[in-house]
C-alpha cells in the first residue's frame, strides 16, 4: 500500500509575544507514516502535544518545522505545512475530516442540518442529504426529539456524537480524531466504534487520539508513542 500521509520531523513551537516572547513547545520532531486505508493511534500523557499534531495536519496550527506530505486525489502530492490556504480549504471540503475534542459549530442550525451540511456542500440533494443525516443520527443513538433542536444545548456526549456524524457522513479519505469517545458511555461508544470501523473498511485512513486503550486497539493498526517527550520545557 502507498502512504497517504508522511509526517517528517514536525515541530510546533508557540511564540507568545504578549508574554514577552515566551516559547511554548507543542510537539517536537514528530515523524511517522500512514499507509492508505490504515489507522494510527497517537499515545502519550496529557500535554505532550498529541492534539498539536492533529491541528498541524489540519493546519489550524502553522507548523514551525518539518513537512506533512499528503497524497491527495485532487492536487497530487501536497505539503500541508506550507500549501496555500485555498488548497487546504479545498482538501478540508473534500478529503480531510477532523473531529475536535469539543464541538464548534454555527449557532442556530438544527442537529439534522449540521450533520447534512457537508453532503450539501459537496452537491448532494437536500432531501437525500437529510435522509442520510437521519440515518447517521439514528445509528449514533441521538433521540429523534433532538433532531430539529440546536446542538449547542445538547449534553457533552450528544455533542460529541453530532461532531462525529458530521465528519463521518462525507466519508473523508483521511480522518483526524481527537478523543472521539471521551464523554461516551459503553453503548454509544460501541455505536461510534462501529461507524468508524465501517469507514475504515470503506477505505478511510485514520489518525486518532484516544483516552481509553480499549477503544484504540479496536480501531488502530499501529501506534505512535510520545511519552518520551517532555513538554514542560519552557524557555524564555
Amino acid at each position: 500500500m502507498n502512504d497517504i500521509l508522511a509526517v517528517e520531523n514536525l515541530s510546533k513551537i508557540f511564540m507568545m509575544h504578549i508574554l514577552n516572547g515566551k516559547v511554548i513547545r507543542g510537539c517536537e520532531d514528530i515523524s511517522f507514516t500512514l499507509p492508505e486505508g490504515e489507522s494510527i493511534g497517537i499515545l502519550g500523557p496529557s500535554g505532550t502535544g498529541k492534539s498539536s499534531i492533529l491541528k498541524c495536519i489540519y493546519r489550524t496550527y502553522i507548523p514551525t518545522e518539518g513537512r506533512i506530505v499528503y497524497h491527495s486525489l485532487q492536487f497530487g502530492t501536497v505539503d500541508l505545512a506550507s500549501a496555500p490556504e485555498n488548497i487546504i480549504l479545498a482538501l478540508r471540503n473534500t478529503e480531510i475530516g477532523y473531529v475536535s475534542q469539543f464541538l464548534k459549530i454555527m449557532p442556530r442550525v438544527s442537529a439534522l442540518d449540521v450533520v447534512a451540511e457537508g453532503l450539501i456542500k459537496r452537491g448532494t440533494e437536500k432531501q437525500e442529504a437529510r435522509y442520510r443525516a437521519r440515518e447517521h443520527l439514528t445509528r449514533l443513538q441521538i433521540s429523534p426529539d433532538l433532531w430539529d433542536a440546536y446542538p449547542s444545548t445538547f449534553s457533552g456526549g450528544e455533542q460529541q456524537r453530532i461532531n462525529i456524524a458530521r465528519a463521518a457522513i462525507v466519508k473523508p479519505r483521511l480522518m483526524l480524531l481527537d478523543e472521539p469517545t471521551a464523554s461516551l458511555d459503553g453503548r454509544t461508544r460501541e455505536a461510534v466504534i462501529d461507524l468508524l470501523l465501517e469507514l475504515k473498511r470503506e477505505g478511510t485512513s485514520i489518525i486518532g487520539i484516544f483516552h481509553d486503550l480499549d477503544t484504540m486497539f479496536q480501531l488502530v493498526d499501529k501506534t505512535y508513542d510520545m511519552s518520551v517527550f517532555d513538554s514542560y520545557k519552557a524557555e524564555v
Partner: protein
C-alpha cells in the same frame, strides 16, 4: 491582472490611501512597527498602505482590526467612494481580469459599481435614501443596473424583501421609520438587487442588539450558501468573522499584519497584534 485559470474573483495589489501632501518616507515611517499612521516627516495620514490580497470566487473573506486600522478605507476605495493614492484592483467579471478598475473612466466605474458590486455600510444612512420608500430604494439600484420595467422592479423588490425578512406590506414605507436591524436588512436587499457577484459588507452588525445581529448574520450566511456570492466582510468583531468566514486578514495601522485560515488566526495567531486581539476576547 488575474490569471483566468485561478478562481480569483477580486485581486487587490498594493493599494494605499494617503491623506495629505505625502512624501517618500510616508510608507516607511508609518505602520504597526512604528505604531502610527501619521508620517513624522510630512504629517500625512496613511490610512492604508500596500494592501494586497485575493478574494476567491464564492469565498467570504474577513478583515478584522481595531478602529482606525484602515478597514473601511479599503472597502470604500473598492466601491470608488474614495480614490486610492496607489494600487491596482482587478475583477474577474470585468475585462477578463486584465483591466485595473481604478484607471477606468468614471462611466466604466459606475458600470462596475452598478452591475458587479454591492455594498452594505455600517450606517444605513449611507446606503439608503431615508425619504424614499424601501421598495424605491431597491428600485434605485435596479434602475442603475438597467432594469426599467416597473412590474419587474416591484416583483424583484418584494422578492428581495421577503428574502431579507422585511414585511412586504411595508414596502411602501420609509426606512426612516424602521428599526436599525430592519434598515440594515433593507440595505442588504438593496445591495443584492442586481445580483452582484461581489458584496462588500462594512461592519454590518455593529450597533445592533444581539438577537437582531443573529438574524442579519444568518441572512448573510444563507445568501452566500444559496447564491455563492463572494464577500468581503469587514468587522472589528472576531465573533462575526468566526461565524462567517473561512479566511481572515488582520489589519493594524493601515497594514495587513497577518492573513490566514480563520481557525488558524483564532487558535495560532502569529503576529504580536493578532495575539493581543485574540487575548482581548471576552
Amino acid at each position: 491582472m488575474i490569471d483566468n485559470s485561478t478562481e480569483i474573483a477580486l485581486s487587490l495589489q498594493g493599494i494605499s490611501k494617503i491623506y495629505g501632501p505625502s512624501c517618500p518616507a510616508c510608507i516607511q515611517k508609518t505602520g504597526p512597527e512604528m505604531g502610527t499612521n501619521i508620517c513624522p516627516e510630512c504629517g500625512s495620514i496613511v490610512a492604508c498602505a500596500d494592501i494586497s490580497l485575493d478574494l476567491h470566487a464564492g469565498e467570504i473573506l474577513g478583515i478584522v482590526g481595531e478602529s482606525g486600522s484602515g478597514k473601511s478605507t479599503l472597502v470604500k476605495c473598492l466601491y470608488f467612494d474614495l480614490e486610492p493614492t496607489y494600487g491596482e484592483a482587478y475583477l474577474s467579471y470585468y475585462g477578463n481580469g486584465r483591466l485595473n478598475i481604478f484607471s477606468e473612466t468614471s462611466q466604466k466605474k459606475r458600470y462596475i459599481r452598478n452591475h458587479i458590486m454591492g455594498i452594505v455600510y455600517q450606517n444605513p444612512h449611507m446606503g439608503l435614501r431615508m425619504n424614499f420608500s424601501c421598495g424605491g430604494n431597491v428600485a434605485e439600484k435596479l434602475l442603475t443596473a438597467d432594469c426599467y420595467h416597473l412590474g419587474k422592479i416591484r416583483h424583484r423588490a418584494s422578492e428581495l424583501l421577503t428574502k431579507t425578512e422585511v414585511p412586504v406590506a411595508r414596502m411602501d414605507d420609509l426606512p426612516r421609520n424602521f428599526s436599525g436591524g430592519m434598515q440594515q436588512r433593507v440595505q442588504i436587499a438593496k445591495a443584492m438587487a442586481n445580483n452582484p457577484p461581489i458584496l462588500l459588507l462594512d461592519e454590518v452588525t455593529t450597533g445592533l442588539d444581539v438577537s437582531v445581529q443573529a438574524k442579519v448574520l444568518d441572512l448573510i450566511k444563507s445568501l452566500q450558501w444559496e447564491l455563492g456570492i463572494s464577500m468581503l466582510v469587514v468587522s472589528h468583531d472576531l465573533g462575526v468573522v468566526r461565524l462567517l468566514t473561512n479566511r481572515t486578514a488582520v489589519m493594524k495601522n493601515g497594514r495587513i499584519v497577518e492573513i490566514g485560515l480563520t481557525d488558524q488566526i483564532l487558535e495560532d495567531p502569529q503576529h504580536v497584534y493578532t495575539q493581543l486581539l485574540i487575548n482581548s476576547l471576552l
